[in-house]
């Protein structure tokens, strides 16, 4: 993975010193909260319901073992012994004290991490496929380009005060595991007629109160022109984005109001000016960055799982292999997802001890590499198939072997009203109730792939719009209500869920989801027809009827 050069080291440690002084001045009363707030937000420090919250960046979801071990140390020393992994592949600490934050940032800088640009109206952490560099279906490893985008967008003088925050996702595989069409800019690897790999660019996607699916603005941008093209899109947005209204300030509104053709014209005109200039990415530079992401020294092997055999002899392990492993491009290897969705637990949370265990496993079995998925799980990207049993045994010991990846209990869930100052309703207890209702292995296997996403307010950090079943917390006359949506899809067949009916109280959510699941089980054509495929085939009507029936 990428290692900081002298510039990066100086930049990050300079920021720590700067923030230390800002905190000192705030505590000494030299700065008001109004003056300090933008400074702390630029360093990822929010004030939530109960305490400060520090959001630490995990660039494109890629970490190594020492970094995860450092996060465990921070959780234990400065927080309450746990951290929360987010849908931007970052980690949040819920209980730091203000004076400790400069020390935390200093400790992070020791392992080449920081919290810069995890807040504010700037370009946020670029997210990518959690199996990047490992997936069997990958056209290209997107991480070198993600790293180049990180470098270009870090403290970019022109784009530090955009109309609103700006999110970029990138995937190198045809199966979209990074929800690229729900980002301000989404990039998908593409091959042109000559077999050259470049990028198909989508613009104007997003969730929040006005969910929109990104539209393709350009079919193919070669590597060398990518930064110039991104710069052109950002310039058009920075110039014309609605600064007059916070709720209309994202690029999706600009694209919607002006129309894709107009935006394309403006971007193209800008692109003509900057193309071929200093933003051109020379092949040598791309190769230099690529070298950081060179594949590890795999041991040649033709090991494979024998699932039928495993199912006969060890059902628990067989389930883990079936749901938590992902095809690897190297024969004899697999990528293992470590579910952070234990039945009845808090989705996305990991204790310090669990982080240390996963860091050890990464060192021993995954060439020191780790990933955070936007679905709030951890990934060991390169595990030899012959080592999977040993990994599983350790995971089991630390309550990390839940075999539910992609199943109904693998829910994306935002912190909601238990922590978040913007929330209308709680998310975590809803996820816990649903997990308890559907959590037996037999039940989950019977239902098959099904994504439930839960947000505590319309900001949609829990991606409810793209849940096959989405759950949105709203508040009515002091009561938490939950609005259910159906048919959302974050994959390459992107879709926004439809609202099923009036909001319901928390206690009614498991029964309502039960009725949707029963409807699906009753109408699926075969056991292989997934929930979302069935919804797309038959439409929402039978589900809506089931939802409304009490």
């Amino acid at each position: 993975m990428y290692r900081y050069d002298e510039f990066d080291l100086g930049f990050v440690s300079g920021r720590v010193d700067q923030f230390r002084d800002q905190v000192r001045r705030r505590i000494a009363g030299e700065l008001t909260e109004e003056q300090f707030r933008p400074l702390r937000l630029m360093n990822g420090l929010y004030l939530q319901l109960h305490a400060y919250m520090l959001r630490v960046c995990v660039p494109y979801g890629t970490m190594n073992a020492p970094q995860l071990r450092k996060l465990a140390h921070i959780a234990r020393k400065y927080d309450r012994g746990y951290g929360h992994f987010t849908t931007r592949q970052n980690i949040q600490f819920n209980w730091p004290r203000l004076q400790d934050v400069p020390d935390i940032l200093e400790e992070l800088s020791e392992v080449e991490m920081h919290a810069i640009q995890t807040s504010g109206n700037c370009i946020r952490n670029v997210t990518t496929d959690q199996f990047a560099g490992a997936a069997a279906d990958e056209i290209i490893d997107p991480r070198p380009v993600a790293e180049i985008i990180r470098q270009w967008s870090s403290l970019h003088p022109e784009f530090t005060f955009l109309p609103r925050k700006f999110k970029i996702a990138i995937t190198g595989a045809p199966e979209d595991r990074a929800a690229v069409r729900f980002h301000d800019i989404g990039l998908m690897a593409q091959e042109d007629e000559a077999g050259e790999v470049g990028w198909s660019v989508y613009v104007g996607g997003g969730m929040g109160r006005t969910p929109m699916i990104g539209q393709r603005i350009r079919n193919f941008v070669p590597h060398e022109d990518l930064l110039a093209y991104l710069e052109s899109v950002l310039r058009v947005y920075n110039r014309y984005g609605r600064r007059d209204n916070k709720y209309k300030a994202r690029i999706k509104i600009l694209v919607h109001e002006e129309g894709l053709a107009t935006i394309r014209e403006q971007v193209d005109s800008e692109f003509e000016k900057v193309r071929g200039g200093i933003l051109t990415l020379p092949e040598e530079e791309l190769s230099r960055i690529r070298a950081y992401f060179a594949p590890p020294q795999f041991v040649l092997s033709d090991d494979r799982f024998n699932l039928a055999d495993l199912k006969r002899n060890d059902a628990g392990f067989a389930r883990f292999v079936e749901y938590n492993s992902h095809p690897h491009r190297q024969a004899g290897y697999t990528s293992l997802t470590i579910s952070l969705k234990p039945i009845g637990g808090v989705p996305g949370d990991a204790t310090a001890e669990q982080m240390e265990v996963v860091a050890d496993l990464a060192e021993r079995f995954s060439f020191n590499e780790l990933r955070v998925s936007h679905e709030q799980n951890l990934v060991l990207p390169h595990v030899a198939i012959r080592d999977v049993r040993a990994v599983y045994d350790v995971l089991k010991e630390y309550a990390l072997a839940e075999a539910n990846v992609g199943l109904i209990t693998d829910m994306i869930t935002c912190p909601g009203l238990d922590y978040c100052a913007l929330a209308n309703a709680r998310s975590i207890p809803i996820a816990q109730d649903l997990a308890r209702r559907f959590g037996t292995p037999e039940r989950q296997a019977e239902i098959g792939p099904l994504k439930i996403n839960i947000s505590g307010c319309i900001n949609a950090c829990g991606h409810h719009h793209v849940g096959h079943i989405g759950v949105l917390g709203v508040e009515k006359k002091g009561t938490e209500l939950y609005q259910l949506t159906l048919g959302g899809d974050a994959s390459e067949s992107a879709a926004i869920g439809d609202i099923l009916g009036p909001g319901i109280v928390a206690e009614a959510v498991p029964d309502a989801v039960e009725r949707l699941v029963q409807t699906y089980l009753g109408l699926r054509e075969t056991k292989d027809e997934t929930f979302i495929a069935a919804v797309k085939r038959v439409g929402a009507v039978p589900f809506r009827e089931a939802y409304l029936a009490t």
């Binding site: 319901l49 109960h50 400060y52 209980w95 004076q99 009203l417 922590y419």
Partner: protein, 101 residues
């Protein structure tokens, strides 16, 4: 009926303005402002902000339920008691975190 609440600067903890003009962690120690006393709130909010030790200073509606102060909004009840599932204690104040007006 209203109370005055804020987050304390060093810890970020939720605190409540008490009869003794100190800011307390326990909502039960909050001073209750009746309708007729509401005019005092603006001045107290300004004084609290001026300490530079309190953030998000705001008045909140409450009711008295079996002798206990209960915030009207669920958000405020969770703020007063901590996350619900699993239950976590609220952020503790240390000696240096105490503020008074």
């Amino acid at each position: 009926m209203q109370i005055l609440t804020a987050n304390e600067l060093l810890s970020g903890a939720s605190v409540y303005f008490g009869d003794d003009r100190h800011w307390h962690q326990d909502i039960q120690r909050a001073r209750i402002f009746s309708e007729t006393e509401a005019s005092e709130l603006d001045g107290l909010i300004a004084a609290a902000v001026a300490t530079k030790r309190l953030i998000s200073v705001a008045a909140e509606k409450v009711r008295i339920d079996k002798g206990r102060v209960v915030a009207q909004r669920l958000r405020e009840r969770i703020r007063a008691e901590g996350p619900t599932s699993p239950r976590h204690a609220v952020q503790p104040l240390r000696e240096s975190d105490h503020v008074s007006l």
